[in-house]
Amino acid sequence: MIDRIASFGRSGADLIISLGRAGRFLAGVLSGVPRPATGFPLLMKQLYSVGVLSLAIIVVSGLFIGMVLGLQGYTILSDFGSEAAIGQMIALTLVRELGPVVTALLFAGRAGSALTAEIGLMKATEQLSSMEMMGVDPLRRVIAPRLWAGFIAMPVLAIIFSMVGIWGGMLVGVEWLGVFEGSYWGNMQASVDFWDDVVNGVIKSVVFGFVCAWIAVYQGYDCVPTSAGISSATTKTVVYSSLAVLGLDFVLTAVMFGNF
């Protein structure tokens, strides 16, 4: 019994130490103003890597999720004779919830794991150490552009996801199942509020982007520099990011849409 309590306490202490290290790491990355001449090209390169190269999975997933929502929504709503509200349902579901959340989960799986593996491998092959010995701070040169790129790319990807999803829902609802196109777009326009729905969705994706990118770069930088260590760090990135996104989604939803 005493051992269990001790083990529980040790786990708690380890968690707090780990959070403290991650916080100190973040402060190190964000401190200092990058020089635009050197910082901008590095940021562009990372935006391409984490943003543009994630487009394919985001667009395809958005399309299918929109199409599934169209099918499911039509089946449910037609029982009540309100299939005309399908556009409203798809748009609110995507913009408020599925857009930010699914994009963040896909981002953690595609870009987050790649970031962790890349940084971990740079650590294992002493590239980060050699940078330090050349008088170049790897936190600013390697980590900061990747963190900012994740932070910037995520909301853009989430918006694209929602747009493609709404279009996919239209393909199924309007083109295939015969819902009147005017109802699809008209109901959507009347019920989706720019500030309450769209902006709140974007705020969610900004938060998720920051958290996912932070977890990914920290896990890479802090990993044990061996093949097993990098593998473990990559897994942790996906698991921690997914849990953080789902947990934060509940908190943000309660704050934004709770009405209490």
């Binding site: 092959t125 002493e126 330090e132």
Partner: protein
């Protein structure tokens, strides 16, 4: 610190993960000379370089480089100070997403505002010095292990440092590659007036080029001096290391319980 010492370590104590690596190590590294730090694997030779470079901090004692206490430098000052240092890592540590040319140009692009044509000329001169001017367009993945280290050497001297540290430069090299590196280390030291610190357990090659050497074992310095002085050193442990004897003060057998216990022999074995 003596006037001729560029690096001075005094009573350095350092522990990691609960294990004592250095237990009062004192080393003087003279300016403009090649000093070899030798010792069996796992004695903390690379750790010593990291203490000199400020990547690790000692628990107690002092690490002075060119009159500056490394552990007292602030983060920004330390990064500035490192511009005077070059380090050749065991793996080469080239940036895998940059070509050979861009790897050598990297420190200049970051730390100087030199025009592109001047960077071009300096990169070619540095690559010429290591015999790889013709390989400038290759990527690190296209280089052999020896070429990789020579490019890394060209990169580490790109800013004409005062100090260069070599971490196991001969490990895993064929005889030709080893000969090339020995020549390069000697030539660079004499032509650029560098202070060189060479960490290695390749006794023959290290003693052939160094002016001074010190041998680390069990967390302390067990022998130091010129190569000739070390060859005549009275310590059995030094002689065992230099001559590669399999048994001696460093035992062949890892500490264990009595063999009779492990083999389950009640009568014991002799």
């Amino acid at each position: 610190m003596g006037l001729s010492s560029y690096i001075s370590l005094k009573d350095v104590v350092f522990s990691r993960s609960g294990r004592r690596i250095f237990n009062g190590v004192s080393v003087e590294i003279p300016r403009g000379k090649i000093t070899a730090i030798m010792g069996p694997s796992g004695t903390g030779k690379t750790t010593l370089l990291r203490l000199i470079g400020g990547q690790l901090r000692q628990d107690s004692g002092s690490v002075m480089v060119d009159g500056h206490s490394i552990s007292d430098l602030r983060r920004k000052e330390l990064y500035k100070f490192r511009e005077k240092m070059g380090m050749l890592f065991q793996s080469g540590a080239l940036f895998t997403d940059l070509s050979v040319y861009e790897n050598v140009a990297f420190p200049m692009r970051v730390h100087t505002k030199l025009p592109e044509d001047m960077i071009h000329d300096i990169v070619l001169m540095k690559l010429e010095a290591v015999g790889l001017r013709g390989a400038r367009k290759l990527m690190p993945s296209e280089l052999s292990g020896g070429m990789n280290r020579r490019v890394a050497l060209a990169r580490s001297i790109a800013l004409d440092p005062e100090l260069i540290m070599y971490d196991e430069p001969f490990a895993g090299q064929d005889p030709i590659g080893m000969g090339v590196l020995v020549k390069l280390i000697r030539d660079l030291n004499s032509s650029m007036g560098l202070t060189s610190v060479l960490v290695s357990h390749d006794v023959k090659e290290s003693l052939s080029i160094c002016h001074y050497a010190c041998i680390l074992a069990d967390g302390k310095v067990i022998g130091a001096g010129t190569p000739a002085e070390l060859q005549d050193h009275p310590s059995e442990q030094v002689q065992q290391f230099l001559n590669g004897h399999p048994d001696g003060p460093v035992p062949f057998h890892y500490p264990s319980s009595a063999a009779s216990e492990d083999f389950g022999l009640s009568g014991g074995v002799s």
